[in-house]
Symmetry: C3
Subunit: 131 residues, 3 copies
């Protein structure tokens, strides 16, 4: 963890270049710092994108698309750290879709949630590779 | 926002007509009123459906399907408004699948959650088109 | 309910055998007991898996994969019951992917959340078939 999931309308599948976007968002998470230290461990970063083949945006007009991002992080980061993370990720999303935003209806959104403290399990051989 | 996400077992992909269902659910959200005003802004409505290719329902019997809907809305709507919204959406879902419900095992469900107050970001050119 | 959703990187699509895994996880949920009674009703069990075609794990290295499981259950189960459920499910996941874990970068994770008390709707003809 952190986990970032993008959901998007399938009319962006050809033009949205989600592979590149996932890379950029992962690098943005890795680059976050607080008190001179990385906020998120590299080995915990997972960004993914899911296309929705069926969807209805607003009143169903065809010239509209959406991308919704949900970031889930471990509990305990400060509000300030969360806000800076969200600002940085959302800036990447806005830049990535700037040209499409000029041409068609587009709704971008991002939310941040914390994993519940009580119940989470992990088994991960990636952390060891970054030590 | 509001965001409505349907998850469904892929054995409904051919018969479920999720494109039509997404349209009807979006119209239902748009039609919600409280104190004579729209509860949800048209430009914020996003309904989408995601098919799960692999799944196991109950004990794995093949004659079973599911559709699970998750509605996420901004914080602050009254319990009464939320209940009326859920009732209206679920009525649409039950009607849409009434024939399938007679023929096979089917589990329909809907939950409502609020977006966390602290962290959400939006960039949306759809609202301006409905003013 | 309970609902268990697996998200996974699409590089596991051929080797991950998610159909079998969904079956095993459903059986694990059905087998959970507290005070000599089943914790989760059979007719409410729904396990599904969603592949993410675009993703970035850690710094984007290609020899890495992930599977993230989210269990949602009705409110009111004890912490102990939740922990035993999570332990049992995660044991199945670790066993299922043991060989892959030896060969490549792999991050497995599981979280448990409760459905909100206030808003959920159900319409389900499966329960009657198990009485």
């Amino acid at each position: 963890m952190p986990h970032l999931t993008l959901e998007y309308s399938a009319n962006l599948q050809d033009t949205g270049d989600f592979g590149t976007l996932c890379q950029q968002l992962a690098q943005t998470l890795i680059a976050q710092q607080a008190d001179g230290k990385a906020v998120y461990p590299i080995g915990g970063v997972r960004v993914r994108a899911l296309a929705a083949l069926d969807y209805c945006i607003a009143d169903g007009r065809p010239d509209a698309a959406f991308v919704h991002a949900t970031l889930k992080i471990g509990a305990g980061r400060s509000n300030d750290t969360q806000k800076r993370t969200g600002d940085a990720l959302f800036e990447v999303m806005k830049n990535h879709f700037a040209a499409i935003y000029q041409q068609t209806g587009l709704a971008l959104s991002l939310e941040i949630n914390e994993f519940s403290e009580s119940g989470s399990w992990k088994h991960n051989n990636l952390h060891a590779r970054f030590r």
